[in-house]
């Protein structure tokens, strides 16, 4: 614009001084509060409930952490040549968590303005800094709280007793997390694209896995993990304050397009978190950070018909998502890591590692099925029956999970002393993972209208838990022979036969296009009123 003041050609009325950004924010908030109808009593009640819930959650988490801590066997006097000490593992996990945090900060953008703020605030000629200040503080604060919680739980659960040390560790976690988020914000506000920052986070995550392998192979022994002294934390806090000040100074120069993108991702991600929809969360975090245009167009040479077209499309989606490929590699290393940490190389430790890593790998391999669930038209574009589509959607997860299973169960075999049978068991269990992946991807949305069940952890919405458990239920039940073999640390031919049967059952369930629960379907069959998820037993995309 020219430096001379611009007199608008058309005006609806006389124009005076511009209001401050704060007054705009206050007007918006006041109108919202006036309509919320919340009394002081109900507000206090909400605060009380939130504080009590947080306190119970923290107490339960620290109780579990302490339980884990006391049940861990002591470190061996002489560590095996290929091993990783517990403090070294925690260091690697913290590095991985830092990678995840940077990746998230990149995907969420420097600062976001939600849909309404973008549409109604960003066009106003008031200083943008005043409008965006609360949004700019939100991400570092959330990052700090998450960082403190993760570090405190790791410290209390694996390294030391709850006390001053844990408090200091939590403080350090909060400072480092806020620092990383603010650094990502500063870098992005300097013009670096979001996807590049996200890629740095993904690379750090991948490097943490490589570092863990290197440390274990080298037999590096880290006896204890140092915790930053208070003066260092104070210095860190000052750096955080400095970066926050720098970000604040740049808020006015952030372009609307970046604010709109960031706000859109944050709104979608927040909605997904609140509604416990991990698929939507994945979509929110993937969409904005990928290249809008591909450098080359796949020719799909192997496509011979609708079935191969569907599989080729799924494969292309997985291949073009570096985040999911990194996720698969990291997940493949986790069970091996559990077997080389002497304190974790026991049945519970390895079992938890396999379950967690399997869940991560399975989620990474589900991109095609998730896309099909989000856009049912994709499943109907090809001349294939709905059940056939489900079966074909298992192909890519099947290949990915076979690779993961061979790596994970190979490590288990090495730990148990006989690799061959474990690899066979892994191959037989692969269809279960693939079926669970597809079943989870096609689960219906959470049904919040079902009754709550009171538990020691608070009210549990049954309509949500039944939906969220779709997929994991197959892993638990249809891989039972594998779990029993793992508990016994021995694979027998009977387990192999039973696992084959489990795979067949999982394949049949994974191919099903019914969306209701078994109970709902029984109700419906008996002529009763289905009380299941929206849509009852309707066949999504059925023919």
């Amino acid at each position: 614009m020219t430096s001379d003041p611009v007199v608008p050609a058309v005006s609806p009325g006389e124009v005076g001084d511009l209001p401050t950004a704060r007054s705009i924010r206050r007007f918006t908030a006041a109108a919202g509060k006036a309509r919320a109808g919340a009394s002081l009593t109900s507000l206090l009640g909400d605060v009380y409930y939130a504080v009590i819930s947080a306190a119970i959650g923290a107490a339960v988490a620290f109780g579990v952490a302490q339980q884990v801590r006391t049940s861990l066997p002591p470190a061996p006097q002489v560590a095996p040549p290929t091993s990783l000490s517990l403090p070294a593992l925690v260091a690697v996990v913290l590095l991985a968590a830092a990678g995840v945090l940077v990746s998230l900060a990149g995907r969420l953008g420097p600062v976001g303005a939600g849909g309404a703020e973008s549409a109604w605030w960003l066009q106003l000629p008031v200083e943008r800094r005043g409008l965006l200040r609360p949004a700019a503080r939100r991400l570092p604060v959330v990052g700090a709280v998450a960082g403190a919680a993760v570090v405190a739980l790791l410290d209390a659960g694996l390294l030391g007793d709850v006390g001053g040390r844990t408090l200091r560790a939590a403080g350090a976690g909060a400072v480092v997390a806020a620092l990383l988020v603010l650094l990502a914000t500063v870098v992005q506000s300097s013009g670096v694209p979001r996807r590049r920052v996200a890629l740095v986070g993904d690379v750090v995550l991948g490097l943490s896995a490589a570092l863990a392998v290197a440390l274990a192979l080298a037999g590096t022994h880290l006896a204890a993990l140092p915790v930053a002294p208070w003066p260092v934390l104070v210095v860190g806090l000052l750096v955080v304050a400095g970066l926050a000040w720098l970000v604040d100074g740049r808020l006015d120069s952030m372009p609307a397009r970046s604010l709109r993108e960031g706000g859109s991702v944050a709104t979608q991600a927040m909605g997904a978190v609140v509604s416990l929809d991990s698929r939507e969360l994945g979509r929110a975090l993937t969409a904005g950070s990928s290249r809008p245009v591909r450098r080359w167009v796949s020719r799909f040479h192997g496509v011979r018909g609708p079935a191969t077209a569907l599989v080729a499309a799924d494969l292309a989606q997985l291949r073009r998502s570096p985040r999911h490929l990194v996720q698969l590699v990291v997940a493949a290393l986790v069970p091996w890591l559990a077997t080389v940490v002497p304190q974790l190389a026991n049945v519970p430790g390895v079992l938890v590692a396999v379950l967690v890593a399997g869940g991560i790998a399975s989620s990474a391999a589900a991109e095609g099925a998730r896309a099909g669930e989000m856009n049912p038209i994709l499943d109907r574009m090809l001349p294939l029956g709905a059940k056939t589509v489900r079966r074909l959607r298992m192909a890519v997860p099947g290949v990915a999970m076979l690779a993961w299973s061979l790596a994970a169960f190979g490590a288990l075999g090495r730990w148990a002393g006989d690799v061959g049978p474990w690899l066979l068991l892994a191959a037989l269990g692969t269809p279960v993972w693939a079926a669970a992946t597809v079943r989870a991807a096609y689960r219906p949305g959470p049904n919040w209208s079902k009754p709550l069940v009171s538990t020691p952890f608070g009210a549990l919405p049954t309509g949500v838990t039944t939906v969220v458990s779709r997929g994991p239920d197959l892993v638990v039940l249809c891989l039972l022979p594998t779990w029993i073999a793992l508990i016994l640390r021995h694979v027998t031919p009977t387990f192999l036969v039973l696992q084959l049967a489990g795979a067949a059952i999982a394949f049949a369930i994974g191919s099903s296009i019914a969306t209701g629960t078994l109970m709902d379907r029984m109700f419906e069959a008996s002529g009763g009123r289905p009380g299941g998820a929206p849509g009852g037993t309707a066949a999504a995309g059925g023919r």
């Binding site: 614009m1 608008p8 124009v15 209001p19 549409a119 000629p125 290249r291």
Partner: protein, 229 residues
């Protein structure tokens, strides 16, 4: 000759470095209206997004009121009013409060009086206290359009303003845009409505991925009318 409100010279717009249409060249003077026409995906909305600073041009030159587009400046936001297809609202603000926010945010002194006038003009009086979520999509569209007129401006950018409007409202909007020109305002709009283009635009730029063509409003209207529904 007054300074053009918008000047685009070989402007290239697109996503990820891939242009969506041929380079765009046009000037828009105060008190004039230019319509962007063309089939779906021809780049109309993309050009508009570049003009209001929501998209970095991939090439060429683009100025608004004599300076490169920078929507971060107060001057730009004071001068350029845009109505895109955003369908987002503050969930707790009523229709009237949304309009007041825009008017007062731009320093309009008797903002509530102006809001009342706009509510009347856009047929929203009965919904003044309603939350946008309770409105029909057509009523929400009227709210967005009313917001575009609730503030001072030198350039009005509209993306398919005819969307979801009934004939009566569309006729009133046409009159409003003609009056906008008469008052010295410039109008840049994308449209698929031949009547709106014929009545409001002085010229029309037909966008295509091979070659763009400047047409008279009448020719553009006739070309739009020939496109099968």
């Amino acid at each position: 000759m007054p300074q053009p409100v918008v000047r685009a010279q070989d402007l290239l717009v697109g996503y990820g470095g891939a242009p969506v249409c041929a380079p765009v060249t046009f000037t828009l003077q105060p008190g004039r209206a230019l319509a962007l026409v063309g089939s779906n995906g021809s780049g109309k909305s993309t050009v508009l997004r570049a003009v209001i600073g929501l998209l970095e041009p991939a090439g060429g030159k683009l100025t608004v009121l004599g300076a490169a587009v920078d929507e971060r400046t107060v001057e730009f936001r004071s001068a350029v009013s845009s109505v895109l297809d955003d369908d987002a609202y503050f969930p707790s603000l009523s229709v009237a409060e949304h309009l007041y926010l825009v008017a007062r945010g731009h320093g309009v002194l008797d903002a509530w009086d102006r809001v009342d006038e706009l509510l009347d003009e856009f047929g929203l009086v009965d919904h003044a206290a309603a939350l946008p979520v309770s409105l029909s999509s057509g009523q929400r569209r009227r709210l967005l359009l009313a917001a575009g007129f609730a503030r001072p401006r030198s350039l009005l950018v509209l993306d398919e303003p005819e969307q979801r409007l009934d004939r009566r409202m569309l006729s009133a909007l046409t009159d409003r845009l003609v009056a906008e020109k008469a008052a010295g305002g410039a109008v840049l709009m994308a449209s698929h409505d031949p009547e709106l283009v014929r009545a409001v635009a002085d010229r029309a730029l037909h966008l295509d991925d091979q070659r763009n063509e400047m047409l008279s409003a009448a020719d553009a209207a006739a070309r739009i009318a020939r496109i099968p529904a």
